[in-house]
Symmetry: D2
Subunit: 405 residues, 4 copies
C-alpha cells in the first residue's frame, strides 16, 4: 500500500493546476461577460475555444480517454487513478475547465462508448470530430414520466424498417443538447419489449439534424439554464429514421452499453465534485480571514473553524475512497468495482452539497448570488444526487449486497 | 392552555385556503406564461393585479396590518396569532399569494413602519398608496462589503444640509427594487458615526426617482432573479438629496426602527416557510402515490415513509413554536418575545430547507426544474437563513442568553 | 388558542418544582450511598419511602391518575394537559422523582388498566395497594425472539383449564420485576391463536409468588441494571395457574387493553424525557460558566453557545407538541390523537438523546461517569426509542397515514 | 499509489483474523462467566492468560511495537501501515483481543514510551515485564477539575528533594489502574510551573506500591466499570517519593513525551473503533436476515438497507483515511501527520458511534443489553470522543490550520 502518486500523475497534476490557475480562473469573468452579451445563444462562448487552443498546445487534451482500445492513441493514455486528480482540478471551475481540456460530460462518456463499441465508420464520423472538439454531443436516456433508474420502464421505441431504424419517444435532461453544435445524439430505446429485462434496449446514433428530431425546450436546475455547456433539453423523436448501421453495439446491447458508460461517468462526477469542494474551501479561507463580525475575524470564531475542519476531513476521506475506486476499476474492472462506484456516488455529492451549504453561509447573501460560484456549484452537486440514478437506488442496492449471506 | 383557533381565525383560514386553492394555484402557470412572454420586464404581471382585485372583493386585504395605531382601520385588525395561519397559507404559493392579499414583503414591513413611526404626511404620501397596492416599496439596509448583522458597520452616510438630507452609499439585496413601480425606498444610513453604537443610524424615505439614485444591477439567488416580485437590486446613492421631513422616526432612531421591523418580518418569513413545507408535502404525497420504481409505488417504500413522517413531525412542532411566538408578541410584546423570535428564525428555515431537499429527491430531476415549485422554494428557504441576520448570529445570541446565570 | 397554563397547573407546577428542588435533588447522593451499601438488593431504598411520605403529606400523590372512572377519587383528577408539566419535572430526577409521587412506570400504566378494566375485586386486591405504594408491579409483554411491535408474533400461551388459566411462555424486559416487592405481574399472552389478528391476545393478572413463575435474570441497559426501580427481568412462566377471574378485561381483549396503556405511557415517557433535557441544560449552563479552556470560559465559546441554543429550540418546540398531544387526548381521545402520540414518541427521545450527547461532551469524561446523571439519562432516552415499539414502526405508520389520499 | 496490502500484512491479517474467529470470539461468553463468578475482582480473568499463551505460541505478540529502537527486537517490527489492519481486527472483540496479543491500551503506549525514552535500567525493570505481560500499567495524566486538553492546567506537582522526586496531586481516568497487577503508573506532573508553557511538565515512573499512592475509587462509563481491563481509577498521590532516576525523559520533557504517546495512541483507537464497526455490521447482517417484522425480513426493508449501506460507506472511507495517516506517520513522521491524526480522531469515533446506534436500533432492546456487545462498544466509542482531547479541541486546531494563509 502506497499513497504517493506516481511521477506522471504528479507532473500532470502540477501542469493542470497551473493551467487552471493561470488560464481558467481568470477566464471566469470573461465567460460571464460573454454570456451576458448574447443571452439567447446556446453555443459555447469564444473564451472556451481560446482555452481549448491553449490546453491543446500544452498537450492537456482528452486526458480522460484510456490508452487502450482502438482510439487509444488519441487520448492521454492515463489510468483512472492517474486521471482522478486531474478531473478533480477541473471541478474547481466546472463551467470552463472540463471543456478546456475536452474532458466535459456528456462528451467524455459518449467518446468512451464510441471508442469501445463503435465501428470504424462510427469512430471516423463521430469520435474523431469529438476528440477534436469540432462537435459536441448529447446522451438521451432519461424520459419524462418514468423512473429512469429502472431501465425496464423506458418508453422510447426503436423499430426496424428494412435497413433503417425508426425512433419514437420523448427524452429530457439531455445535457448539452440545447447547443446547436451538439451534432450527435446518443439515444437509448427499446428494440424488443418482449426480450429479457436487460436485453430489451438498444443504443443508436442520431444526427441532430435528422428529420423528426425536435428540441422542445430547455430545462433549468434551480434557476440555472446551464447555457454555458449546452443546457438540458427536452427532445421529441417522432418517427426519426436513421440507417441500421447507426446502432451502437448490437441490438439488445443498450443496457450493457449504458452501464459501461455509467461507471466512469459516476467517478468523474465525484472527482469534479471534490474539486468544487476544494474551490469552496479556498474561498472560505479567504473570506474567513478578511471578514470580521462583532470585532473578530470569522477565522477566529469556533463555529467557522468547526465548519472548515469538518469539511476538510470529509474531503480527505472521500477523496481516498474515490482514488481507491479508480484503482479498483484499473485493476479488477468496472464491474468488480460496482459497490465502490455506488459508494462514492452516494457519499461524495451529499458531502459536497453540505460543504457548499456551509461555505455559502459564510459568505452571506453574496454566497447565494452570481458573485460567487458557490450556488451554481451547489446546484450541480445537488443534481448529481439524482443523475445516473438517485442516491436511494444505490443505497438500496449497496445495502442489499451488504446483507447478503 | 388551549390549542383550538378562535372563531375568526377559523373562518378566515377557511376563506384564505379556498382563495388560494381556487384562484392562486391555478394562476401559477399563468404567471409563468406572462413571465416568459416579457422576459425583460421587472414589473408585476397582470395576473397579480387580477388576483389582488379578487382578494380585495372578498375582504382579504392587508391582513397583516394590526388593528391598533393610526392606520389601524385600514388593516384587518388581526393579532399575530390570528394572522399566523393566514400567512402560512400564502406560503403555499409564495410568488403569488402574498402579493394577492397585499401581504408581501418587503411592503408589509415598510407599511408597518409607516403606520407606527410615520407622520400624517408620510402616511398620506406613502402608506395610503401602499395599502392600496398602487405602489410597491423596497427596504435598503444591507450593504456590500460589510456584515449587515452588525449595525455598527453600516457605511452609508446621511448628512444634513440645511433642510435637506444628503445620502451617499451603496446598498444591495434591496428586494423588490428592480420593479419600476417600487416608488419608495426606505434607506438606513448613519447620521452620526460618533454617537453610541445603536444611535448612529437613521431611517429616511427616498422616492425612487430622486436624482442620484441608480439601480446598478439585479442580483440572483440560486440562478433565480425573482423577477415576479421585483428582484433584488444593488443601488447606488450618490449625493441623493431629500427633504429633512423624510426622516422616518427621529434622528438616531434608525436602529430602533429597523428592530421594530425585524420581529414581525421574521415571524412572517417563518409562517410562509411552513406553508412552503406543507405545499411540498402535498406534492410529495401525490408523487409517492403515482410513481412506482421496481414494481412498488414510492408510497409503500420505507425510506419515503420515513422522509414524510419526519417532515410532518418537524412541521407540527415548529408550527406550534411559531404560534406560541405570535402569542407572546401579542401578549408580552415583541421585545419580550425576542428569544422565541430568534428560535423560530433559526429552526424553521433550516427544517424547511431539509424538507424541500427530501421532496426534491422524491421528484427526481423534475424536482430541481421549473416544472415544480420546489427548487425555487428551496432557494427562498435557504435565503431566509441569511436574511435579517445569519443563523449563527441568532444562535450565538440565544446561547449567550441561555448560559447567563 | 392560548399558551398560558391554567391556575391549577401553575400552582401544582410550582409545588412540584419546589419539592423536586428541595427534597428530591438532595436525595440523589443519598440514593447512591444506599445503593452502594447493599449492592445485591433489588428492593427500593429507604430514601424512596421517605420521599413518598413527604410527597403524600403535601398531596402530591398519584398525580397521573385521571379523575374520571371508578377509582377517580384516588387520583389527583388532572387532565393530561395538566399533568404534563408535572411529569416533565419528575424527569429531572428520573430515578427518584417519579417514584416519590407514585407516578413511576410501569405502575402508572398498570394502575390505569386496573382502574379502567378491573373488576371491583381486582381493584381492591391490586389497585388499592398500588395506589398506596404498598406494592409495585410489572408489565410482561415483550418476549425474547420475536418483534414485540408485531402483536401477532406473541408466543406466550394462556389456556383455559376449567376455572383456571394456565400460562406458558417467556417474557423479558419486564421492568420493575426484579424488585421482590413487585407483587403483581400483568401478563399478555395468546388465548386463541386462530382468532383474528387483534383478538388472539388476553391480559391476565399473575401474583408474583404463583408457582411456575421464575425470575430468570436481570437485563442491563448499557451497563446499568436500573436496580433503583426494580431492574428489567427475564421471566419464565411454566404452567402457571391462576383463577379465570384474573383475566383483565375479556378474553381476546388483550391487544385493546395493551393499546389503552400505550398512549398515556408514551406521552409520560416524552414528558419525563423533556425534564431530563432541562436538567441537562441546567447542568450545561453551570459547567459552561465555571470551566475554562485555553483561557476562555466555555460559555463564551461559539460552539458551546450553538449547542445550547440548538438544544433549547428543540426542547421548546417539542414541549409544545407534547402539550398539544395531551390536549388532543383530553379533547378528542387517545385514539384520535394516535398520530400525534406517534410523532412525539419518535421525535422527543431522539432529540433528548442528542441533547444529552452534547452536554456529556461539555462535561468531558465526567459526563459519562456516575458523577453526573447524564449517561444514565442517555441510556434511558436511548431505550425509549425502542420501548413500546421502535421509532421505525411509528415512522412507517405515520408516513403511511400521511401518504394516504 | 497502490491500495493493495503488502505480503506480510496480508499474511498477518489472515492469521490474526483466524485467531480472533477461532479463539477470541468463542472466549467472550467464557469471560462473561468468569466475570460473573468473581464480581469483586479487578484482575484479568484466566481466559485472558489462556488467549495470551495461545497467541504467543503463534508469534502474534507485541504486534504494535515498531521494529526500530532499543527494544525493537522484542516487537513484531511492523510499520504503522502494517499494524493498522491487525489493530482493526482486535477491535472486533475489544475486551479480549487487544489483551490476547499484548496490544492493549494503555500498556502499548507505555511500552512505546519506555522503548523510546527509557534508560536501560527502566527498560529492564518495566519494559521487559510489560512485553512479557507479566505486569500491566497505567497512564496518569487526566485530572479532576481541569481541562486536560490544556496541559498548562495540570495541577499535580513533582518537586525534587535531593535524589528523590516527591509527587502530590490527584489523577482520574487512569485506565487499567484498578487492576492490582498494574504495577507501573506513568505519572505526568509539573516540575516547573514557571517554565515556558510546554516545558513545565515531567513524566515519572511510579511503582504502584509506593507509599502515598491511594487508589480512591473506580469510575464508570455508561454504567460499565470495564473491570475486564482494569477499570478506570481515581488515584491520589500524597507526597509520593520515588528516586530521581524514575524520571522518564528529562525534566521538562513531560509534554513532549506525552505528545509522542498520543499520536500512535489515537490511531490505534481509531483502528480498533473501525473493527467495532465491522463487528457490528456483521451482527446487523445476521439479525437482518433472521428477523422479520410484519411479514418481511428486516434485510428487505429499505430503511435497514440504507442504514447498512450508509455505515458501509463511512467505514470504507474512514479506513482509508486511517491507513493514509499510518502511512504518513511511517514516511514523514508523527509530527508531520498531526493534521491527519486529528482528522481521524475526530471523524472515526463519531462515525462508529452512529453506526453502533443504528445497529442497536436493529436489535431492539437486546442491542442495549449485555446479550450483545453493541452497547459496551458504543460506550467505548463515545468515550474515545473525549479521550486524548475532546473532538472540539481537535476541530478547532484543524480549522485554525486550514484557515491559515
Amino acid at each position: 500500500m502506497d499513497f504517493a502518486p506516481d511521477a506522471r500523475t504528479a507532473e500532470l497534476t502540477a501542469q493542470v493546476r497551473a493551467f487552471v490557475d493561470e488560464h481558467v480562473l481568470p477566464a471566469e469573468p470573461v465567460l460571464d461577460a460573454q454570456l451576458a452579451a448574447t443571452p439567447d445563444d446556446w453555443s459555447p462562448r469564444p473564451v472556451v475555444r481560446e482555452l481549448q487552443a491553449a490546453a491543446r498546445t500544452q498537450g492537456l487534451w482528452n486526458l480522460f480517454l484510456p490508452g487502450t482500445g482502438p482510439a487509444g492513441e488519441r487520448g492521454a493514455g492515463l489510468t483512472n487513478l492517474q486521471y482522478a486528480p486531474l478531473a478533480e482540478l477541473t471541478g474547481r471551475s466546472p463551467r470552463l475547465a472540463p471543456a478546456a481540456f475536452n474532458c466535459a460530460a456528456p462528451d467524455t462518456g459518449n467518446m468512451e462508448l464510441l471508442a469501445h463499441f463503435g465501428t470504424p465508420a462510427q469512430r471516423r464520423d463521430w469520435l474523431d470530430p469529438l476528440l477534436d472538439a469540432r462537435i459536441r454531443s448529447a446522451f438521451c436516456m432519461t424520459e419524462p414520466g418514468v423512473a429512469s433508474s429502472d431501465a425496464s420502464q423506458i418508453g422510447t421505441r426503436i423499430r426496424r424498417d428494412g435497413d433503417a431504424l425508426v425512433i419514437t419517444g420523448r427524452k429530457w435532461w439531455s445535457t448539452g443538447a440545447m447547443n446547436p453544435g451538439a451534432a450527435l445524439l446518443v439515444v437509448m430505446g427499446k428494440t424488443d419489449p418482449d426480450a429479457p429485462r436487460h436485453r430489451q434496449q438498444s443504443m443508436v446514433l442520431v444526427p441532430r439534424d435528422t428529420p423528426g428530431v425536435t428540441v422542445v425546450r430547455p430545462l433549468t436546475v434551480f434557476g440555472y439554464d446551464d447555457r454555458d455547456h449546452g443546457g438540458h433539453a427536452e427532445i421529441a423523436f417522432d418517427d426519426v429514421r436513421v440507417p441500421a448501421a447507426n446502432l451502437l453495439g448490437g441490438e439488445g446491447d443498450g443496457f450493457a452499453v449504458a452501464q459501461a458508460r455509467l461507471g466512469p461517468g459516476r467517478i468523474h462526477h465525484c472527482m469534479r465534485a471534490l474539486g468544487m469542494a476544494e474551490r469552496a474551501l479556498e474561498l472560505a479561507a479567504g473570506r474567513a480571514r478578511e471578514r470580521s463580525t462583532f470585532g473578530r475575524p470569522l477565522a477566529e470564531q469556533g463555529v467557522v473553524r468547526e465548519w472548515v475542519a469538518t469539511s476538510r476531513v470529509e474531503v480527505e476521506a472521500l477523496r481516498l475512497l474515490v482514488l481507491k475506486t479508480a484503482w479498483l476499476m484499473d485493476t479488477v474492472g468496472n464491474r468488480q468495482a460496482m459497490r465502490e462506484i455506488q459508494a462514492i456516488k452516494i457519499a461524495v455529492p451529499r458531502a459536497v452539497q453540505a460543504i457548499l451549504d456551509r461555505v455559502m453561509q459564510l459568505f452571506g447573501a453574496a454566497g447565494l448570488s452570481g458573485d460567487q460560484p458557490l450556488a451554481e456549484m451547489f446546484a450541480a452537486a445537488r443534481a448529481t444526487r439524482l443523475a445516473d440514478g438517485p442516491d436511494e437506488v444505490h443505497l438500496s442496492s449497496l445495502g442489499k449486497a451488504e446483507l447478503r449471506p
